[in-house]
């Protein structure tokens, strides 16, 4: 199944289509859900290689039958490839409650805005972008938006080590935030300038949906409207928080009669989504490229009081906040430097942090993960966490092509387990069939994603490797050569002294000139004009013809006295 979740300013639009591709032994189900900017792969609890990660999963894939290999290869090529490197995925312990421990989670904090990024993602869809709802994914209009996030969620189900019942569920989510073309809307009526612009699918995407993809089981477009704001007159029967959902079945339309959907506003509507009790933001502290600190600041939002009111009956009203922070290995975090400030007052870490799980980063192997459970008093207006880090230095090959472009730290996920983001719809059995809607109705925590941090790292000089290698080796050669030379040298005077005075027999090679003369000459140079020493040499030649063994003369210094 594939869902396109769209937030259109002044209305919320969801669409889904589903497909089931079956092979002889297994099947791929593609499921998607609009959500955060991440790629998740969830591996079933009974999967034998669950701790090993995606690489193993890919191998398992390859071992399964051959028909659908093309699909699987594409799947893993598309966006999961980067997860193979252990530096980019991690196993959170308890930040994603249903799948603790078995989850591999990885994000790419920054991707270039480029149609090549979405093409492999679209290729996983059964009809690609040729038919069905996905025809709406016109690249220029998508990339014009404020926000774009692609997400894969892989779940391995079945007992399937033997390959019988193994299936992998792939949920694909594309979240875009677009602004309707307001100029065109304003042209229509000048008096309605101040209300939100009207829009239609064709005006936003520049495309219309001409029927569903043949492989899709269902293909629906949902339109969600905030009930109490718009249909106040009808709302008496419904609970306050529920919304109105319109469902459009794309299969009813065809090429000749394409599906289009539009809203024309008459009144000003402020659309409110479920808001987190605390607004999370994150920033860097410090300057320079040596060290710094990450600060996560949580500020209470105005609506919080309402939520707090519900809890304040308890004796100690506490707000639980889970923080999940991942840092790449080149940001070396000192976990002991964690500090907590509540309402600008420093607090003891143990007072605020109920649980902490840390997995420190290993250089070039794994990123650092920090999971915190904070217990904050309900009356809190601001909280800040700071943690210091050193910036690592990479090998020149590890820098991206544009090294002075900063590095990104994936966003922190701050979740509030006491608050649920589920939507409440009218009990309607026909609606509940849709996996998209059942997903929306599932009880899930309110999560907020902070902004991506940009960390500038120091760069070495990339043009210098040869210079550095040669200069360093020269210095080493200098050390080795000069020290060895200093050790080896014997002053000639010393030698001649030994020749002259030593009583020990030693060997002089035969090509020496007359030793006494040389000695005399040296002494003359030093201003010693005494008589040459009256040495007498006893030359012992072993053979007349100077064979190798006899190429030496034994000189026996004679005692002078």
């Amino acid at each position: 199944m594939f869902y396109l979740g769209g937030f259109i300013v002044g209305g919320r639009l969801s669409a889904d289509s589903s497909a089931l591709c079956s092979g002889s032994k297994w099947h791929v189900r593609l499921v998607g859900r609009s959500g955060g900017p991440n790629v998740t792969s969830r591996i079933g609890s009974d999967y034998p290689y669950r701790s090993v990660g995606l690489q193993e999963m890919k191998m398992l894939y390859a071992r399964q039958g051959s028909e659908s290999d093309e699909k699987s290869a594409m799947l893993l090529k598309a966006q999961a490839d980067f997860l193979e490197s252990s530096t980019s995925y991690y196993a959170p312990e308890w930040s994603f409650p249903p799948a603790s421990g078995n989850l591999r989670y990885g994000t790419l904090p920054r991707e270039a805005v480029c149609t090549e990024n979405i093409t492999p993602w679209l290729k996983l869809l059964p009809c690609q972008d040729k038919a069905g709802i996905s025809t709406l994914l016109d690249r220029p209009s998508i990339y014009r938006g404020f926000y774009l996030s692609q997400r894969l969620h892989l779940t391995l189900t079945g007992s399937g080590y033997e390959g019988m019942d193994l299936s992998i569920i792939l949920e694909k989510t594309l979240t875009v935030v677009l602004q309707p073309n307001s100029q065109r809307a304003s042209l229509v009526r000048d008096s309605e300038k101040h209300i939100q612009p009207s829009w239609s699918l064709s005006s936003i995407f520049g495309n219309q949906v001409g029927g569903k993809c043949v492989l899709a089981e269902t293909s629906n477009v949902y339109l969600l409207l905030d009930r109490d704001r718009i249909f106040i007159e009808e709302s008496s029967l419904l609970s306050k928080n529920s919304s109105v959902l319109y469902k459009f079945e794309v299969e009813k339309y065809s090429e000749s009669e394409p599906f289009d959907l539009g809203l024309t506003w008459k009144i000003l509507v402020v659309w409110l989504c479920q808001q987190a009790p605390l607004h999370a933001s994150r920033f860097l502290m410090g300057s320079g490229n040596e060290r710094g600190a990450i600060a996560i600041s949580l500020k209470s939002t105005q609506t919080t009081e309402g939520f707090m009111g519900a809890h304040s009956n308890d004796e100690r009203c506490e707000l639980r906040v889970d923080v999940f922070q991942v840092v790449p290995w080149y940001v070396k975090v000192y976990f002991h430097s964690l500090q907590v400030f509540v309402d600008q007052q420093p607090k003891a870490v143990s007072d605020i942090i109920e649980k902490i799980h840390v997995s420190p980063s290993k250089d070039k192997v794994s990123p650092g993960v920090m999971e915190l459970v904070l217990k904050l008093p309900c009356s809190v207006s601001s909280t800040a966490l700071t943690i210091e880090f050193d910036k690592g230095f990479l090998h020149i090959d590890e820098y991206p092509p544009d090294a002075n472009q900063v590095f990104d730290i994936p966003s922190t996920i701050v979740s509030f387990p006491n608050f649920h983001a589920s939507m409440v719809f009218l009990e309607n059995h026909s609606l509940n069939k849709s996996p998209l809607l059942s997903k929306f109705q599932e009880k899930s925590h309110v999560m907020s994603y902070t902004e991506v941090l940009l960390v500038p790292l120091t760069t070495p000089d990339f043009s210098m490797p040869y210079n550095v290698i040669t200069i360093t080796c020269t210095v080493f050669a200098l050390y080795f050569g000069s020290l060895l030379n200093a050790l080896r040298t014997r002053v000639t005077e010393e030698e001649s002294f030994l020749k002259d005075k030593g009583s020990i027999i030693f060997i002089i090679f035969i090509h020496h000139p007359t030793i006494s003369e040389e000695f005399w000459f040296e002494r003359k140079l030093k201003g010693d004009h005494n008589q040459p020493p009256q040495t007498k040499f006893v030359m012992v030649c072993c053979q007349e013809n100077w064979s190798a063994t006899s190429a030496a003369v034994k000189v026996v210094g004679k005692d002078n006295r």
């Binding site: 997995s359 420190p360 120091t458 070495p460 050790l487 080896r488 002053v491 020990i504």
Partner: protein
């Protein structure tokens, strides 16, 4: 008169010692302003105080201190110094206890250096006596080398910075000095303990086993037999009592035994403290393995970090081997040439490995500069000493500037900082080479004195016989 002079000397010595300690204490009270503990010159990945604190924190939260790539020191240091990283006294600067431990370590090292230096000087004078050279030497002034060395060690800005910067190098240096002191004063268990601990803490002092063996086998100063033979040949008779003692194997065997005992003891202690976190293998991997593979490429005053940041990946292992073998290659030639002066040999070894080690810091330089003081008499006519002094001063001023330009202001370039590291390496090379030459020249001078004497006596004989 002599005694009075000595007394005055010792009083001024103690004055300097107290002054240096007070200076340290003053600096300790302003640690935040100086921020020395995160300077790359002071804290390497091995000696960094913050990493020690992180290791202790990890251990306290029941994780292996070696989880992640933060801590690379010994588990024993964690046990001893770890608690000091978190203890705070109200109204006092943070880490005051830890700083006091560093100051005490420095003081103890200085005292041991002094005692060893005095020991060495006595041995040297005894040798001169046995060679009948005392009269010739008397003309030139003999400095009290022990005091000089201790003061150089204490007042050296490098030592002070390493001490105030909360690095662990004062402790490592103390272990090395303990080893040399024990060997000089023939306290074999102490020597073995120092050697084992120094090796355990920073691996490189392992090569000090060679000077220690010579020290134990033959004493701190044993001129070559040849000299004696020459000397006594001239005198006509061999005075057996004046001959230096031969090489004795007894102390060495005892040293080996004690080293074994201490290493087993240290390993057992480490094993116990790391029992639940992967045991000794993980310790070796993240201490010695980390030293030998130069994984951390953060800048320091050595040259290897930039080299390995730039070198092509497939040459990496080759160059790792080459650079480490460079240390090992020099062991043998130096041992052959300087075996009769084991303390000097130890100094040269220390200088070489502090120059070529993978993560050098100023604390290592402080050690060999302190040991240099032992040989102040021999070095009195060393070449380039002014040049070297100016070079050291220049580099220690320029290097922080270049680092600041590169890291903090972003106006400089890695090459500038690397260039100062290069110059520093060259200076140390010149120091080692010139030091060795100076020592060899000193030996030559002694020899010349002997020959000069014989020459005199001979000429006297000749003049007697000629008329």
């Amino acid at each position: 008169m002599e005694k009075l002079k000595k007394k005055i000397g010792s009083i001024s010595f103690w004055k300097w010692v107290i002054a240096s300690v007070i200076f340290r204490l003053i600096l300790i009270y302003f640690p935040q302003n100086l921020n020395l503990s995160s300077r790359p010159e002071v804290s390497t990945p091995l000696t960094s105080f913050r990493r020690l604190a992180e290791g202790y924190w990890l251990k306290q939260s029941s994780m292996s201190p070696y989880a992640g790539s933060m801590y690379h020191g010994s588990p024993l240091l964690l046990l001893l110094l770890g608690p000091l990283t978190v203890k705070r006294i109200e109204g006092q600067p943070n880490h005051i206890l830890y700083s006091l431990v560093s100051v005490i370590a420095d003081l103890v090292s200085a005292m041991l250096i002094r005692a060893t230096g005095q020991n060495l000087q006595l041995a040297y004078l005894r040798t001169l006596g046995s060679l009948d050279l005392v009269k010739q030497i008397e003309g030139s002034e003999i400095h009290p080398s022990g005091d000089v060395a201790a003061l150089i060690y204490l007042c050296n800005p490098f030592t002070i910075v390493a001490c105030v910067g909360l690095s662990t190098s004062p402790i490592e240096n103390m272990a090395v000095i303990l080893c040399l002191y024990g060997a000089c004063s023939r306290l074999i268990p102490l020597a073995a303990f120092g050697w084992v601990i120094a090796t355990h803490l920073s691996l490189y002092p392992a090569i000090l086993i060679i000077p220690v063996i010579f020290l134990l086998g033959r004493g701190p100063d044993a001129p070559p037999w040849k000299l004696f033979l020459q000397r006594h040949q001239q005198n006509g008779m061999l005075n057996q009592s004046k001959l230096p003692p031969g090489f004795s194997w007894g102390p060495i065997i005892r040293f080996a035994f004690w080293s074994l005992v201490w290493s087993v003891y240290v390993l057992v202690l480490c094993g116990i403290s790391l029992k639940q976190f992967g045991g000794l293998w993980e310790m070796f991997k993240s201490t010695y393995g980390f030293i030998l593979t130069v994984e951390d490429l953060s800048p320091n005053i050595g040259v290897l970090w930039y080299f390995f940041a730039e070198v092509f990946e497939f040459f990496r292992s080759f160059f790792l081997i080459v650079f480490h073998v460079n240390i090992l290659f020099m062991i043998l030639p130096l041992a052959i040439r300087l075996h009769h002066r084991p303390c000097y040999l130890a100094f040269v070894y220390v200088a070489i490995f502090s120059m070529l080690k993978s993560y050098p810091s100023v604390g290592d330089s402080a050690l060999y500069l302190g040991l240099l003081g032992w040989f102040v008499n021999e070095f009195s006519d060393m070449q380039f000493s002014l040049f070297l002094f100016c070079g050291y001063v220049g580099v220690s001023l320029l290097s922080p500037v270049m680092h600041n330009l590169w890291i903090w202001r972003g106006t400089g370039n890695a090459n500038f900082y690397f260039a100062t590291a290069m110059v520093y390496a060259c200076l140390q090379i010149v120091l080692v080479v010139e030091g060795v030459s100076a020592m060899l020249n000193h030996e030559r001078k002694l020899r010349r004195l002997i020959t000069g004497k014989t020459q005199d006596s001979k000429s006297g004989l000749l003049s007697d016989s000629s008329p």
